[in-house]
């Protein structure tokens, strides 16, 4: 557990869905430089791992960074158990290159699942730069959706969809995307952030029409500074490091199948760690009940 008085304080915690949480964390030196598209690395305590999370928002005056994360592995589940006032040991950033914001004309922002969080500051910045912004957000079901209002405010048009039809249109994010770009609308560039498999299908949809498509990759990382190469992504012209060359890449250059394979490498260990943590939490609860 974090030592008292050391570390970065959680100022606010919000539950966006059963498995999606928002946290505002105090880190003035990071907030001072943060820009849309960048990420941070967080390590909860002395035994924790270093994991990357995209910057969902920042407030330079308040010196805070907003994170949104889905509880999928040990570290994110653990982070989700922390409360306002708690601290985390390590919080480094901002890392990676920011999104290149300028007036492109008409652009589209596609956010899937927890990818809605990082797509939001990009959409907002693109709109502020004078673009016509058409956004699509989607999730497996209604309970996993969040920030519809924020996305609506940051977009000229917003399409909401769920896989199971429990909210908005019942479809995958790629369906409205194909309709819009296929319908003759001149789209200068698409940003897509979400699960790797979603990003892969977005790039497959935009490739035939040659619409430049930027994806933001979230690979396994350790240092986040180019030191280990663990985050490397196979591109058509050779491997690059997501942490320093990305996290945004031309989606049409990514070797998706190889990337999807690399993301699976530690799957067994991730399960062991998550199960162990849940087990400890249950023991903890049981102890407290006694």
């Amino acid at each position: 557990m974090s030592e008292f008085g050391k570390g970065y304080r959680i100022l606010k915690k919000e539950i966006l869905s059963d498995v999606t949480k928002l946290m505002i964390i105090e880190a003035p030196q990071v907030a001072k430089k943060a820009q849309a598209g960048q990420f941070i690395i967080i390590k909860i305590d002395s035994k924790g791992e270093r994991i990357p999370l995209t910057i969902a928002d920042y407030d330079r005056e308040a010196g805070t960074i907003t994170l949104i994360f889905q509880e999928v592995g040990k570290s994110t589940i653990h982070l989700g158990t922390l409360n306002e006032g708690d601290t985390v040991d390590t919080f480094v950033g901002p890392l990676g290159h920011p999104t290149e914001i300028k007036n492109y004309g008409t652009v589209m922002c596609v956010g899937g699942g927890v990818g809605i969080a990082p797509i939001y500051p990009i959409a907002r910045a693109l709109k502020e730069a004078g673009n016509e912004v058409i956004s699509i957000i989607g999730a497996r079901n209604k309970s996993l959706l969040f920030w519809e209002d924020k996305m609506r405010a940051a977009s000229d048009e917003l399409i909401v969809c769920t896989d199971d039809g429990s909210y908005g249109r019942k479809c995958l994010v790629t369906d409205p995307l194909k309709e819009i770009i296929g319908g003759g609308k001149k789209v200068a560039q698409v940003w897509a952030i979400g699960p790797a498999i979603m990003m892969k299908f977005v790039t497959l949809a935009t490739r035939p029409l040659n619409v430049p498509t930027i994806v933001s990759l979230n690979t396994i990382m350790i240092d986040g500074t180019g030191m280990c190469g663990g985050c490397r992504v196979p591109l058509k012209e050779g491997a690059q490091f997501v942490c320093v060359d990305g996290p945004e890449f031309d989606g049409h250059a990514v070797e998706w199948d190889s990337l999807l394979g690399r993301l699976q490498f530690y799957r067994d260990e991730e399960k062991i760690a998550a199960d162990r943590f849940k087990h400890e939490c249950n023991l903890d609860k049981a102890m407290r009940r006694q």
Partner: protein, 476 residues
């Protein structure tokens, strides 16, 4: 004890370092070399002939006063031995463990001509370890100068520069991108060779004495740029090392199971992956591992692999770890002691072997490596014998893990927004070899970021020389 004659001194044999049994140590990460006892240290120190013109000192990149500290040690004057040591070397417990003594001080020792050199490194370690617990010779900070010095990177170069600047009374802040200080000493060199407690203790001791602030989690080039720092500080020393791993240019490098030695060692050492799942960072090791390269980094990766295999198999290791190197035994660049320990532990050395392709299975995982046999050509102008492939000698090794340890270069991240700072085409910073001064005003650099991957002691030497020049500049 009566003074010994030189003849009597020469009659004493070099004292072996007590080590953990090779079978036992292959299954743990505890330190291999256990250190001399006081009796052994004094006895070993008696071997020194106290040469009038000591060659050993010439061989030391920082000129440690070797005969003086050895004399004090054998007379039982430990505090004095420490003082002599610390006059030139701030981190003796570290250097005593990791310096390539055979090509430095001990390589020049006159005794080595007839028998074996004085075990200077082991004596240095003895003195360093004594001081870590006894603290007889605290560093003293001169009256505050009011000047602010920033150090980028907390490896041996940065730490040494920080300590010397702190002693002169400057106010020093170290910026480190990782969550702990120490550089390669904590993320690269494994626990069984250099226990973390030694590194932490050396750093804490120096920081306590001198009031140096270490800001971890600061990535220069991102969190702050050199320009930002220059606005607030009177001088900067860049000691950001050579942390960028080079990958092999062969097909198959993105397969699952291929990683850089940096990734592997960082998982194992910095993140304590060998204690997964108690620690969160996993590290996966296969049953058949090949480490490509034969430097210290390769030896460390191979020996960590072996330990992980043993631990994960519950004691009896059914696996194999190979060192694949394109030159021969003679050219191996790692420290002698490490090669010797690796051999004892059962690492298999495949000399004159070069990988040409990493082979994958249908799931995108490593299943083997195609290699070619090499031979050494006649020495070229520089005297180096170039390895050349033997035609038609390709063969396949069956493997599931490939660790690439082919060297590193400086990480360019620190140079974001610093185009004026000139660098070579290899990415190393151009700095004056004596003073460490770079092409930018108020900025010095030293260690691996200037030389490319080198040694702990040469990085320390560079940190020291730069500190002297920086102090001169700030006092002018």
């Amino acid at each position: 004890m009566a003074e010994l004659t030189p003849k009597e001194r020469m009659a004493i044999g070099r004292h072996e370092m007590p080590v953990q049994d090779e079978k036992v140590r292959a299954g743990n990460f505890d330190e291999v070399a256990l250190g001399y006892s006081q009796e052994t240290a004094i006895r070993e120190a008696e071997r020194c002939l106290q040469c009038k013109k000591p060659q050993c000192v010439e061989g030391c990149p920082v000129g440690v006063r070797i005969p003086q500290f050895i004399k004090a040690l054998r007379e039982g004057k430990m505090a004095e031995a420490v003082k002599e040591m610390k006059a030139k070397n701030n981190l003796p417990a570290i250097c005593g463990r990791v310096c390539p003594q055979e090509s430095q001080c001990e390589g020049r020792c006159i005794l080595g001509k007839k028998s074996k050199p004085v075990a200077i490194g082991r004596l240095e370690r003895f003195v360093g370890d004594f001081e870590l617990t006894q603290r007889t010779c605290p560093l003293v900070r001169a009256k505050s100068t009011g000047k602010k010095v920033a150090i980028v990177g907390s490896g041996p170069a940065g730490l040494t520069c920080a300590v010397d600047m702190g002693r002169e009374g400057h106010s020093v802040t170290i910026f480190e991108s990782l969550h702990v200080a120490g550089g390669v000493l904590v993320y690269g060199i494994p626990e069984f060779r250099l226990p973390k407690r030694v590194v932490h203790a050396e750093i804490d001791y120096a920081m306590d004495c001198l009031g140096i602030e270490i800001k971890t989690d600061y990535v220069i080039g991102r969190t702050l740029t050199l320009k930002d720092i220059l606005e607030e500080f009177d001088a900067i020393f860049i000691g950001s090392g050579a942390g960028l791993p080079m990958f092999l240019r062969v097909p198959g490098i993105n397969l699952n199971g291929v990683m850089s030695a940096n990734e592997f060692l960082t998982r194992v050492n910095l993140m304590m992956g060998y204690l997964f799942p108690e620690y969160d960072t996993p590290v996966k090791i296969g049953k058949k591992v090949a480490v490509i390269g034969a430097g210290n980094v390769a030896m460390d990766a191979a020996r960590c692999s072996l330990r992980l295999q043993t631990m994960q198999s519950g004691g009896h290791n059914p696996g194999e770890v190979h060192i694949v190197y394109r030159r021969s035994r003679q050219e191996v660049p790692a420290r002698d002691e490490e090669v010797h320990h690796a051999e004892e532990e059962g690492i298999i050395f495949d000399f004159l072997t070069n990988p040409v392709e990493i082979l994958g299975d249908d799931k995108g995982a490593v299943r083997g490596m195609r290699c070619v046999k090499m031979q050494l050509a006649e020495p070229d102008a520089s005297g180096r014998r170039k390895p050349v492939p033997i035609e038609g000698s390709e063969f396949d090794m069956e493997l599931d893990t490939v660790i690439v340890a082919l060297g590193t270069s400086p990480n360019p991240l620190v140079f974001v927004d610093a185009a004026e700072l000139q660098r070579t085409k290899h990415g190393t910073v151009i700095a004056d070899p004596i003073t460490g001064k770079t092409t930018v005003d108020k900025v010095w650099a030293g260690g691996d970021v200037v030389t490319g991957a080198a040694t702990v002691i040469s990085a320390m030497g560079a940190g020291k020389r730069a500190a002297a020049d920086m102090h001169k500049f700030l006092s002018a």
